[in-house]
């Protein structure tokens, strides 16, 4: 049953050292505020799951919080590489990180399998692909009806999933729209689901009947954090801060510059600071 609470409490009550955690968002609705709170609270030894670990995973890896990454694309979308992840993988700074790498199709299927309560996902995938040789969690299965050999990967079942969404109603039902990505599956696959929202409204009575809605009884905690996806965007609220993604490439290129940036913009900051960061990116409603 969803409970409304400050983000600081939602993170403290739902994340533990050593957890397998997904902070999902497919370029849209990335839960940056939740990640920054997790960084401030200093969680360690996390297995970080995400299809597209971008800036926020670069930040957590750079802060030494990650034991393992499970992912399918580890880049700064449209810009290039993730320099803190590279430094960890190539040089072990600040610590080495274990890697379990998949394709998007496999990760999407694995989350869906998790949401569906299945132990594995089956797909026509990885044919001729090198990942099948380096990732022991990519296996094959033979269709009992046709004899076709298909790829099999284990379901993703996070201890906790964090997502960002447009709005919750007063009961704690959550509405997601625009590029909905993998958030519904990631939330339903997890033991606990924590959602940050742009705003809380009375009800969704005038909404289209086929909108993507997570009922309140699928969610553990909700925190209202306007701007909480920045520098990602929230469809209908504010645009993607593309300049910030370009700038991150410079910040993350240097260990000391990274450390100073994190100190100023994360360690000394608060969830309430996000609203001001999106002010110039607001779109007309």
């Amino acid at each position: 049953m969803a409970r409304f609470m400050p983000l600081e409490q939602a993170v403290r009550e739902n994340l533990k050292h050593g957890d397998t955690v997904a902070f999902e968002g497919f370029t849209h609705l990335i839960p940056t505020a939740a990640v920054h709170e997790a960084i401030r609270q200093g969680f360690m030894d996390l297995t970080l799951v995400r299809m597209t670990p971008d800036l926020i995973y670069d930040q957590m890896v750079g802060m030494g919080m990650a034991k393992k990454l499970v992912f399918s694309y580890v880049g700064n979308p449209g810009v290039g590489l993730l320099r803190r992840v590279r430094d960890s993988v190539e040089n072990g700074w600040p610590r080495g990180v274990e890697i379990e790498e998949h394709s998007h199709a496999a990760m999407a299927n694995a989350y869906e399998a998790g949401a569906a309560g299945l132990p594995l996902a089956v797909l026509r995938g990885y044919r001729g692909a090198g990942l099948a040789e380096v990732n022991p969690n990519i296996k094959s299965i033979t269709c009992p009806f046709t004899g076709e050999k298909l790829a099999a990967v284990p379901a993703v079942r996070p201890d906790v999933t964090f997502i960002h969404a447009q709005k919750a109603d007063k009961k704690g039902n959550v509405l997601i729209e625009g590029i909905i990505g993998i958030q519904k599956e990631a939330a339903l696959a997890a033991k606990r689901a924590v959602v940050t929202v742009e705003e809380v409204v009375d009800d969704f009575s005038d909404a289209h009947p086929n909108l993507c809605i997570l009922p309140h009884w699928t969610i553990t905690a909700i925190a209202e954090v306007p701007g909480g996806a920045h520098p990602s965007y929230t469809h209908g609220y504010y645009a993607r801060d593309n300049a910030a993604y370009l700038e991150w490439d410079q910040i993350a290129a240097d260990r000391e510059r990274f450390r100073l940036w994190m100190e100023e913009h994360v360690m000394k900051a608060k969830p309430e600071d996000f609203a001001a960061r999106v002010e110039k990116l607001r779109v007309a409603k």
């Binding site: 597209t52 290039g80 998007h104 001729g128 590029i179």
Partner: protein, 256 residues
């Protein structure tokens, strides 16, 4: 005809390969520019699909990422990521998968994962994302990249996505029944696979390009078709469309 750069020629040559009846799964970067130039010129009814779930999108500026809001705003519909990969890609609905490459070999195998050993990489690249299945589930694959000896190599370090493997009927032997890479468009030339060996062969060179230029920027011994055509130079409309698109895009990404 005004002057044009090799990159502009590449994008425009790639755009010409697309038609209004194509359903194209668009990779970011060079493919995205080519697909949108096609849409804005000769292929207005092309269906562009980005892996973020946007189907039939018509962006006014090129997206920086595959999930920019512009893609969703202008799409016919937006579906979830699992639906995108299961129903639309794996289901066989995509006619063209359009990919870029960090490293490419002469059989159209692509590496965007690592330079060096996988477990101890010299350079850790972003990885495949959707590419491993785009390369095998799309009906055919087009590839576009600028030529360089670093990029076009005899042997790639990692098989992120499978092209024609070791050539010949390698796809068939793995049970892959789609065509795989059928076209490579670089900044210097247009290449097609040899019908038997599947090795990429130069069939057309862009205006002003010589065989030496193609060979000097390619890490394998280049094969040329018996008759090598000259790629028609960009038209005024193609160039203007591309330049306007780039100008709008640059302005948008700087936050202006």
């Amino acid at each position: 005809m005004s002057d044009f750069t090799p990159n502009e020629m590449m994008t425009i040559a790639a755009s010409r390969a697309l038609t209004s009846t194509d359903v194209c799964f668009v990779g970011i970067g060079a493919p995205s520019a080519a697909c949108n130039v096609a849409r804005l010129t000769h292929a207005p009814d092309i269906t562009l699909i980005y892996e973020s779930g946007t189907i039939g999108t018509a962006p006014d500026v090129l997206p920086l990422s595959i999930g920019d809001g512009e893609l969703c705003d202008t799409a016919l519909t937006t579906v979830s990521v699992p639906e995108m990969f299961r129903y639309w890609l794996q289901g066989g609905r995509i006619t063209i998968g359009f990919l870029g490459a960090a490293q490419l070999d002469k059989y159209g195998n692509i590496n965007t994962t690592v330079i060096g050993d996988y477990h101890k990489p010299k350079t850790r690249l972003p990885g495949g994302g959707g590419a491993p299945e785009i390369a095998t589930s799309s009906q055919q694959v087009y590839i576009t990249m600028a030529q360089s000896k670093r990029g076009m190599v005899e042997k790639i370090d990692f098989y992120t996505s499978f092209g024609h493997g070791d050539g010949g009927d390698h796809r068939k032997r793995l049970g892959i029944d789609t065509k795989g890479p059928t076209l490579l468009i670089t900044d210097l030339a247009i290449w097609k696979p040899d019908p038997e060996t599947k090795e990429f062969t130069v069939v057309s060179m862009h205006p002003g390009v010589t065989r030496e230029m193609v060979q000097e920027t390619c890490g394998w011994q280049v094969k040329f078709a018996d008759k090598v055509e000259e790629t028609p130079a960009p038209t005024e409309l193609e160039l203007k469309t591309l330049r306007d698109l780039k100008a709008r895009t640059d302005a948008a990404h700087k936050g202006n």
